[in-house]
């Protein structure tokens, strides 16, 4: 059987026991048999043939090489969306092109042949189609932390430090011994992590509360120019005050409990989120407002369909900035206002007599790990998703 309509010809020869497929275009030839695959390459089409063969490779398992018909070479299987038999019995293959989709009619087939061809092509498409890779948090961790040479550099540094401290005989209350730090981290893993969780909770409570407030205000000022003129200078003013100077005042108001840490975090988180979201809202093009409005969206629908999704990336940025900054702040609060948490632990161990610097370092490292893991597993992932629709 011969197709000539596409400037290619594909021939199918059925021999006694094996099925043989000859796929020929210009100077290259592929023979696909039940037992073996013969690739005869003369021309420059090496790479395109390679993908052709590779896309068939997993048919080895599912179909045992019993491929009866091939699609015309002009149709790239990766771009095929659908193949179907039309009412008049011709095979029609729809492919993606850079201008949209295109449907090619394959000529000179009987209805039966057309049906076989379309089902083969659809099976191929099914076999090739891979789901969009879903990156779980564990996978992110693995790619971010396990791969790469940095881990060896780190280990090298620790070894160097260990050897240096041992050789120079530095007392442990001046520079702690790294193996001791690691030992404490393992031994007191539960205590350390529960203290980190405690600080983390206060911090998140503070930022979340602040984010809700900052977001609503930023939506209002980002949308209404007049409100922006009267409110934003005030936010600037508060932002320019030294945050830590507020601490004694806050302690005076709410006491030294966890509440002061939450309060302090929400004060410090406000400005980065506010300014970021406000910029995000201001940057929404007028035509996007128009298109949502022309379909009848008002107030709430406008916020839900347009303002919130448009400002989402800047909210994430603002939240990320605040998150980093608030860790500095919360450690300071815990040390100064004696709020239970990892900061308090670091202070207590470092100022004990004799000072236990190894424990203090272990505390610091625990914070570092918590921040890093959050950044990589939460923020980096969200930004990854945003990157799919953003330039």
């Amino acid at each position: 059987m011969l197709w000539t309509g596409l400037g290619v010809w594909v021939e199918m020869v059925v021999q006694e026991e094996r099925e043989l497929l000859v796929f020929q275009k210009e100077a290259h030839l592929v023979k696909l048999t039940r037992k073996r695959l013969v690739v005869d390459l003369v021309s420059r089409h090496r790479s395109s043939l390679k993908t052709f063969v590779e896309s068939h490779r997993h048919l080895q398992k599912t179909m045992g090489w019993t491929l009866h018909l091939a699609y015309p070479a002009e149709i790239e299987i990766d771009h095929v969306i659908d193949a179907r038999v039309s009412a008049d019995g011709t095979a029609q293959v729809t492919t993606k092109t850079s201008f949209g989709s295109r449907t090619v009619t394959i000529p000179e087939l009987t209805r039966e042949e057309a049906e076989r061809l379309t089902s083969e092509i659809n099976a191929l498409v099914q076999a090739i189609e891979r789901p969009r890779p879903h990156r779980s948090a564990i996978m992110v961790l693995r790619t971010q932390f396990v791969k790469g040479e940095w881990i060896f550099v780190l280990i090298g540094l620790f070894v160097f430090w260990e050897v240096f401290v041992a050789l120079a005989d530095v007392p442990a209350d001046v520079i702690p011994i790294p193996s001791k730090i690691v030992a404490i981290m393992i031994e007191r893993a539960y205590d350390l992590s529960s203290m980190v969780v405690l600080s983390y909770r206060n911090l998140l409570l503070g930022i979340t509360f602040s984010a809700l407030l900052a977001m609503s205000l930023a939506f209002a000022t980002g949308l209404k120019g007049k409100l922006d003129l009267s409110l934003t200078p005030l936010v600037m003013l508060v932002y320019s005050l030294p945050d830590l100077a507020l601490l004694p005042i806050i302690v005076h108001w709410v006491g030294t409990g966890a509440l002061s840490a939450v309060f302090m975090c929400s004060v410090c988180a406000f400005a980065p989120i506010y300014f970021s979201v406000r910029e995000g809202v201001k940057a929404i093009p007028t035509d996007q407002f128009e298109v949502v409005r022309i379909f009848g969206a008002r107030k709430l629908a406008l916020l839900k369909e347009l303002v919130f999704p448009a400002a989402w990336p800047s909210l994430v940025t603002g939240f990320r900035l605040s998150f980093m900054y608030c860790w500095q702040i919360i450690l300071a609060i815990e040390m100064i206002a004696l709020v239970p948490g990892i900061g308090y632990y670091i202070k207590e161990t470092a100022m004990a007599s004799p000072p236990r610097l190894d424990a203090a370092f272990a505390g610091m490292l625990a914070v570092g790990i918590a921040v890093l893991v959050t950044d990589r597993c939460v923020f980096a992932r969200i930004e990854d998703r945003i990157g799919r629709w953003r330039r």
Binding site: F99, G100, T286, D287, R293, F295, G296, P309, A310, W389
Partner: protein
């Protein structure tokens, strides 16, 4: 006339900037018949787009009345949609989600609107791209999404705001031909704003020429060239020359409008008022 879909009666529009008052439209009266393909033509910065937005109910006229189906228009109407020069797609929505935006906002249940919008995906030739984001599409494909979105709510009147001017000539021509076919098949009413004479002649059944600011209606041409229209034909060329002559008079005196004279200035004022 009884079959008038939209009537504009002495529409005036002025923007204010501190103490200056900028008159953009001055007593524009026109009527759009059902099934018309009306084209409003004029050089840029003449308030054409503002006029279109008044017709869309997106912005209010300073004075004058817009009537749709005989009753005054007081805001966006479900039977009027618009296709934008800048496509105005929501970048975080996929092709099909963008197309179903209108249906979603009009409260159609998810399954139903997805099914319906897939038909429009197919109609504009974007099958296989329904789950792509706008950023992954070419300009022509993006505008196809724009058209599909405008058509999905089954409007009676579609406003085109220089819908083809951000596209390359080949893509624009293909799309224009498709729009003409669509218009002839569905009998929907189109109003297009453009500054391209040949585009206006290619598409419309009637052309209105706007004067320099403040924008007034200068002339109205019936375009009676039979379809399909051949750009190189005698009758096309004759009308092109006539239109150009009419427009040429409006090109020169525009130099003295001052700093707000350019269309960007106008857009800025428009944006300030309509956010």
């Amino acid at each position: 006339m009884t079959n008038d879909l939209m009537e504009l009666d002495r529409i005036c529009k002025a923007f204010h900037k501190s103490e200056t008052r900028l008159a953009v439209l001055d007593r524009v009266s026109l009527s759009v018949g059902e099934g018309d393909f009306l084209c409003i033509i004029g050089p840029s910065g003449r308030g054409k787009s503002t006029l279109l937005r008044i017709m869309a109910g997106l912005t209010d006229a300073t004075s004058g009345i817009v009537k749709f189906h005989g009753s005054p228009l007081s805001g966006p109407h479900p039977k009027i949609t618009m296709v934008f020069q800048t496509f105005a797609l929501l970048p975080w929505k996929t092709v099909v989600e963008n197309i179903e935006l209108g249906l979603k906002l009009q409260g159609m249940p998810k399954k139903e609107r997805r099914e319906l919008s897939m038909k429009y995906v197919e109609m504009v030739g974007l099958r296989g791209f329904e789950n792509n984001y706008p950023v992954e599409l070419s300009g022509g494909m993006r505008q196809r999404v724009g058209f599909a979105r405008a058509l999905a709510t089954d409007p009676e009147m579609i406003l085109l705001d220089e819908a083809f001017s951000a596209l390359d000539e080949f893509t624009a021509n293909t799309l224009r031909a498709e729009i003409v076919r669509l218009w002839r098949e569905t009998g929907k009413t189109f109003v297009m704003v453009t500054h391209s004479i040949s585009e206006a002649l290619q598409l419309s059944s009637r052309i209105i020429v706007m004067t320099a600011r403040p924008g007034r209606m200068k002339e109205s041409f019936e375009v009676d060239i039979p379809w399909p229209r051949e750009k190189l034909s005698q009758e096309f060329a004759e009308r092109e020359i006539r239109l150009f002559a009419s427009l040429r008079d409006e090109l020169t005196p525009s130099q003295n409008i001052g700093e707000l004279g350019n269309s960007d200035g106008l857009k800025l004022l428009y944006n300030q008022e309509n956010r």
